[in-house]
C-alpha cells in the first residue's frame, strides 16, 4: 500500500509527524517532504485559544485519496503519500493536519506535498470553529464546493 488517508479523532489519537515520514519511506526514495498544520493563537486580529474541527469523514477520506491519485499522475507512480486530518477540539499548538510525500527525488516530493495541502484546503469537507480568548466562537468562512448532477 503506497497511500495512507485518514480522519482521526484527536482526543484518542493525536497526529504524529514521525509516523507520516516513516510511512512514505522506501528503499528507492531519496526524499521525504513533510507538511504539518498547527493551531495558531491569532487569526485576523483575534486571540484564539482553541479550534474545533468538524469533518464529514467518508467524503473527506475519499477526497484525500483522489487528490493523492492526481498528484501521482502529475509527479510519478512511485510516490508514497500520507494524509491525516484531526477531528475534534484542538488547543493552540496542537497538530491539525499531517501530510508527507515520499519520492526518489526532492523536486517531486516538494511539489506533490504542496499540491496535497492546497487541494485539501479548498476541496475537503472540513470546517473550523475558532474559540477566542474573549469567550466568543465563530465558524471560519471558507471555500464553496463544486457539485455534479
Amino acid at each position: 500500500m503506497n497511500t495512507n488517508v485518514e480522519v482521526r479523532e484527536f482526543d484518542s489519537n493525536p497526529l504524529d509527524a514521525a509516523e507520516a515520514l516513516s510511512f512514505v519511506d522506501a528503499a528507492g526514495n531519496g526524499a521525504g517532504s513533510l507538511f504539518v498544520g498547527v493551531v495558531r493563537n491569532l487569526n485576523q486580529g483575534r486571540k484564539v485559544r482553541a479550534v474545533s474541527y468538524d469533518v464529514f469523514a467518508p467524503l473527506a477520506e475519499q477526497g484525500f485519496a483522489e487528490i493523492c491519485s492526481e498528484a501521482r499522475q502529475k509527479w510519478g507512480d512511485d510516490l508514497r503519500f500520507y494524509v491525516a486530518h484531526a477531528k475534534g477540539r484542538l488547543q493552540v499548538g496542537d497538530i491539525s493536519i499531517v501530510l508527507a510525500a515520499g519520492s526518489p527525488h526532492r523536486a517531486e516530493a516538494f511539489a506533490a506535498c504542496r499540491y496535497l495541502i492546497e487541494e485539501i484546503k479548498t476541496r475537503s469537507p472540513i470546517w473550523k470553529q475558532e474559540h477566542y480568548m474573549d469567550g466568543d466562537s465563530d465558524w471560519v468562512k471558507g471555500h464553496a464546493l463544486c457539485g455534479h448532477d
Binding site: 493536519i97 485539501i120 469537507p125 463544486c146 457539485g147
Partner: protein, 81 residues
C-alpha cells in the same frame, strides 16, 4: 417524502441531523428550498445559498434526484487544513 440531512459546520446549530419534507422525486434544488425555513430561523439563509449537498461518496448537483429516507449531508464552504 422525507429526506434526512446531516448537519456540518455552522449548520450544527440546527442539530446533528434534521428531517426535511420534499415532494416525491424531488431534487437537491427542492431540498434546498424546503430547508429555507430552518435556515431562516437560525439566520443561515445566505449560508444555505452557497452550500452544497452530498451523499456518502460525492457532492451532488442541483438537479440530482433525492430518494425517500435517503441520508444526505449539507456542506457549507470548507475551511480545513
Amino acid at each position: 417524502m422525507i429526506v434526512k440531512v446531516q448537519m456540518f459546520g455552522a449548520f450544527r446549530v440546527l442539530g446533528d441531523q434534521i428531517e426535511v419534507k420534499i415532494k416525491e422525486g424531488g431534487s437537491v434544488s427542492d431540498l434546498r428550498d424546503s430547508m429555507l425555513q430552518y435556515a431562516q430561523n437560525a439566520d443561515l439563509s445566505e449560508l444555505l445559498r452557497v452550500s452544497k449537498f452530498a451523499n456518502q461518496s460525492s457532492v451532488l448537483g442541483e438537479g440530482a434526484i433525492c430518494s425517500s429516507g435517503e441520508v444526505l449531508a449539507i456542506l457549507p464552504p470548507v475551511s480545513g487544513g
